[in-house]
């Protein structure tokens, strides 16, 4: 198992697009937070970071989709399963390695944003919601990873994840309160605990984990049973 995780980490580390995504996410976090902190008068540094979380979701989503889809764009998936024929081990190894990568990316991005916002806008609010934002970003990445594993292709997974996370929620939220059950709205309870009409932090986390369980369960079932 340790070998499988290490192998998957090496694959992620040596995938240029994945490294570029991680770096790009951190840079975008710093840049966007700087713009928000500079443009809104009297905004707290923490609030500036939280304001850019929705667009930042693109980073973890792309990371998750790329890491899976790169296996299926050629014959790498077959090589992987030849090297690690036990599919449970391969799946757990890949998921663990991805969690390491996406957690590092999310934490680094939120930290970079916070540092820039503190320099630009100052502020003394407790930075604990930023940790919640990092957790939210990592979980969103995991959801996209599961979706890509289920669909085994880059474009459908990317369009599906970005549409569900970025395009649909604002539209639905304007017409129905049930938009709070969507993954990004539910997860936002992790970093916006006091916003009205959303779920309590614990419930929001549970709903997001529920989404991941359903999509991830289907993906795992498909990965274990389907021809490679």
């Amino acid at each position: 198992m340790g070998g499988a995780v290490a192998a998957e980490l090496v694959k992620i580390w040596t995938l240029p697009a994945a490294a570029a995504t991680a770096l790009g996410t951190a840079l975008a976090a710093a840049l966007l937070t700087g713009v928000v902190a500079a443009s809104a008068d009297g905004i707290d540094a923490v609030a500036a970071v939280l304001a850019v979380v929705p667009p930042l979701q693109v980073g973890p989503v792309l990371l998750g989709v790329l890491i899976v889809a790169s296996e299926y764009s050629g014959t790498q998936a077959r090589t992987t399963l030849t090297a690690v024929p036990d599919r449970t081990v391969a799946l757990v190894g890949k998921t663990t390695a991805f969690l390491v990568a996406v957690t590092a990316t999310s934490a680094a991005s939120c930290a970079a944003g916070l540092v820039v916002a503190r320099v630009v806008a100052g502020g003394t609010a407790s930075p604990s919601p930023v940790a919640g934002a990092a957790a939210h970003l990592a979980l969103i990445g995991l959801l996209a990873f599961a979706l890509a594993l289920l669909l085994r292709a880059l474009v459908p997974a990317l369009v599906g994840a970005l549409g569900t996370l970025l395009v649909v929620p604002p539209m639905l939220a304007s017409v129905t309160e049930h938009a709070r059950w969507l993954p990004d709205r539910a997860g936002s309870a992790l970093y916006l605990p006091d916003s009205a009409a959303v779920l309590a932090p614990g419930v929001g986390l549970l709903v997001l984990v529920g989404w991941i369980t359903v999509v991830g369960g289907a993906a795992a079932w498909a990965f274990l049973l389907r021809d490679a």
């Binding site: 713009v35 500079a38 050629g74 990317l158 549409g163 970025l166 395009v167 304007s174």
Partner: protein, 259 residues
């Protein structure tokens, strides 16, 4: 091949892509679904004494607030029309790219780009011609008569907005020679947290960016920032100018670069 053959060949290639069906599905079903939700909301909110919770009560807004979803469909259509050419085939089948066959059949590259642009515009127009009337009919049936005032102009405007969006997506994909980057940039920018909207908070120059310039083609007064946006004719022309410039740049790149 004659020019019409080129267009027909491109039409057949684009129309038979699974992604094109998905894109049309997003635009038609997405718009109809959001329009239905909006219409139910517009109908029920005043009766429930919660009119304060609705941003608008006019049935027409129920149709056009779904238009950004059609733009997402247009982006998918425009991007995949080009990115499918550059997608690498399965190594078991030679690992080739369709673009080599395309350029062998149609060596005149500007003609190829014009044909592709025509096909993308045609497919988006066909999608809009289904999506918007269906949405209008749904809203009409659920929330009552839609005011005819400016309806035709806004419907045509939404169709033009989608078409220009798809053409810009196509041009950007010619630069990128792959679907990932254009899809991310353009879908993210179709959402309400778009980079252009963020920039508009810093500088009014952001209203000259392609997506915000054209927003008054369909968006009513209630959309955030609509009061500061360019008016429909000016904005539409600005957006069309962006599209023309991007397509010209795409043609230059396509002609000069190795496939």
């Amino acid at each position: 091949m004659k020019a019409t053959d080129t267009v027909l060949a491109e039409l057949r290639k684009s129309a038979t892509l699974p992604a094109t069906a998905v894109a049309a599905g997003i635009a038609v079903l997405g718009c109809a679904g959001i329009a239905l939700l909006n219409a139910v909301h517009v109908r029920d909110a005043p009766a429930a004494g919660r009119a304060d919770l609705v941003g608008y009560t006019a049935p027409a807004e129920a149709v056009f607030s779904a238009a950004p979803l059609g733009a997402v469909g247009a982006v998918v259509l425009g991007v995949t029309a080009v990115s499918s050419e550059y997608a690498i085939n399965s190594p078991g089948a030679g690992g080739g790219r369709q673009v080599l066959a395309t350029l062998t059949a149609i060596p005149r590259r500007p003609e190829l780009l014009v044909a592709k642009a025509l096909v993308v515009a045609l497919l988006v127009a066909a999608t809009a011609a289904v999506a918007l009337p269906v949405s209008l009919a749904i809203v009409h049936a659920v929330a009552g008569p839609v005011a005819a005032d400016g309806l035709l102009a806004r419907s045509v405007g939404a169709g033009i907005y989608w078409m220009l969006t798809a053409l810009m997506a196509m041009a950007v994909t010619v630069f990128a020679r792959g679907g990932v980057l254009p899809l991310i940039v353009l879908i993210t920018n179709s959402s309400l947290v778009s980079v252009s909207v963020l920039l508009a908070k810093v500088t009014p120059l952001a209203f000259w960016l392609p997506d915000l310039a054209g927003m008054r083609l369909f968006a009513g007064d209630l959309v955030v920032g609509a009061d500061r946006a360019l008016d429909a004719p000016t904005g539409g022309l600005v957006m069309a100018a962006w599209t023309a410039a991007l397509l010209a740049a795409a043609a230059a790149v396509l002609v000069r670069r190795d496939a």
